[in-house]
Symmetry: C2
Subunit: 332 residues, 2 copies
DNA sequence: TTGTAAGCGTTATCAG
DNA sequence: CTGATAACGCTTACAA
């Protein structure tokens, strides 16, 4: 690979001059030498070493996105948002799959810090009980001292710009929608119990139920995946009279509930209405009523904050209930 | 951040010695000094600069995965495979979303080359007609000369280890499955017309139909997404008598077909059987008959080849038809 | 407007 | 076993 030294030699200039024309520096360079350098660079197919540049500028144009599960479209949508705006300014995005393990997050944070990453985006929620959190907080701190900006798109226990949706309101709104359809006996399927997001959504469910004077106690253990939803449906079927409606912890869990219910011959939405949260792609596949979250925008805003230092206003982005065919008005 | 110089100063050694103990070098170092260095490193919270290291070793432990659409679970599954084995050896994975644009691929290849990426994985199929291909081939070549290994998980027009599934056989097998269920009038929904993968799958459909003495001409334009499948279903409904069965270009398109058909009151699989290809997560959500592809394994094998230079044997991985509820035996 | 030279934080080559 | 010292490829004062 041709280096700056090669270019300068061929153009008959110093490396400094070559560097100046090749990296939009404001330092003045005569048109003549500029042209010679450009030509030499073209001839040799020059491509700068981002590594060397990052070493001296102490910033690498790398943005790390740490997700809980790369296969989950929730995170894919966020990553897409980050990538789209990052790509525009020549930044590179690393999507790191922590697989719901806090130690894996730590590992990635260290690796990203080693590359002097310009920013870290934590797409997923924290797990307050995990003992690896102290270590993670330390690693994040180290990354910051190396100049990395930190953005959290869900609740986290370390400093950083917190930017996201109001999960309590999200769950409250979808529950209210169900209540508005005439349902009274409404169940919630909880997300992974260790996550803040699960707790928030459950709280939102309770707020809506309590405000309507309904029993907020019908809660089933669940998770964020299809299988968890199916299992919750089975437990529901065993637990006595079916609810009028169910709020899933997220879309995939809700889809699992629908599947589990239908497998047992229950009519959805005829007998039971089911709603999810997130409005990821699969929601459309099964015509699922859900809450649309600005995932792409969240990712984009995170990237903008990292790149431009933009203050990111507002900090809480709006959501919206999307009624579809998995919920229906209560009859009888 | 503490640097090697800081460590050596505190430990009373040279940077060379400090470096030797801190990066599992085989060069002998006395236990006493080793201990002093270790302690100094611990005290100062030393973390090596991957940038500086990569600059001098000329290899960065970065693996780039270039995908057509990061929201597509097909690619997510592959990325997961890459990441899992890469993570074990401290490699960092960059998932780059080219959004089906060849120029975007070029852009990412250049960026990865600038970071001296150790390997590039092209997860998606090439688009032979695109004029940006020449540029891409050039960029890939440049990345190779900088020492990057290239793996293609679908057909591509530049050199690199080609590793994948036999898409012709994949489509043939699922078509034969449909034929085995007694269907005679079978339609295919084509993928994005510009991709090799689409052409291969269509060819496989034709092979099976022709071998069975059936009409292979019932082909509808489509794509790889839900909306394309729905649109194909509408065209199918307008085109006269419905087919007995449909092979979708992939799972999402097949799900679109099912949805489109059902919206028109068609019973799937009662009236029409529908099958997909890929066996991504959503296939289970809608109980879709499909072909399971070793996506995770493909990604893992690609990573192994890049990291260990393993020859990756076999080059073509096995697939398997997975019958589910969207297909049924023909009656009457 | 151009050039010189001092780093950035490592690793690697050679002497000691 | 240990230590200077020269790279790696680039940016950026500081001089000229």
């Amino acid at each position: 690979m041709a280096s700056l030294a090669d270019i300068s030699r061929r153009a008959g200039t110093s490396v400094a001059t070559a560097s100046r024309v090749l990296n939009g520096s404001t330092h003045p360079v005569s048109e003549a030498t500029r042209a010679r350098v450009m030509e030499a660079a073209a001839d040799l197919g020059y491509q700068p070493s981002a590594l060397a540049r990052a070493l001296v500028t102490r910033s690498s144009r790398i943005i790390g996105v740490i997700v809980n599960d790369i296969v989950d479209p929730y995170f894919a949508e966020i990553a897409r948002g980050v990538e789209d705006v990052a790509g525009r300014s020549g930044h590179l995005v690393m999507v790191c799959n922590a697989d719901h393990r806090v130690e894996a997050e730590s590992k990635y944070v260290r690796a990203l810090r080693d590359y002097h990453a310009e920013g870290l985006v934590f797409a997923g929620s924290g797990a307050p009980g995990d003992e690896a959190n102290a270590q993670l907080a330390q690693d994040v701190e180290a990354a910051r001292t190396r100049g990395g900006r930190v953005v959290c798109l869900a609740q986290r226990d370390f400093p950083g710009l917190h930017l996201g949706v109001d999960n309590v309101a999200v769950a409250r709104d979808v529950t209210e929608h169900l209540i508005g359809l005439g349902h009274r006996r409404i169940a919630a399927v909880e997300g992974p119990p260790e996550l803040y997001t699960s707790a928030d959504r459950l709280a939102g469910f309770r707020v809506a139920m309590t405000a309507a004077g309904l029993d907020a106690g019908l809660v089933f253990a669940g998770g964020f995946d299809f299988e968890a939803g199916q299992a919750a449906a089975r437990r529901m079927l065993d637990a006595g009279p079916l609810p009028d409606a169910v709020v899933g912890a997220n879309d995939e869990a809700a889809i699992g509930v629908i599947t589990g219910l239908r497998q047992a011959g229950v009519d959805v939405p005829g007998d039971v209405s089911v709603a999810g949260i997130d409005d990821t792609r699969p929601a459309r596949f099964v015509d699922l009523t859900t809450v649309s979250l600005p995932l792409y925008d969240l990712g984009a805003a995170a990237a903008r904050h990292i790149i431009e230092g933009a203050p990111a206003d507002p900090l809480t982005l709006a959501h919206r209930v999307v009624p579809r065919g998995s919920t229906a008005r209560r009859v009888g």
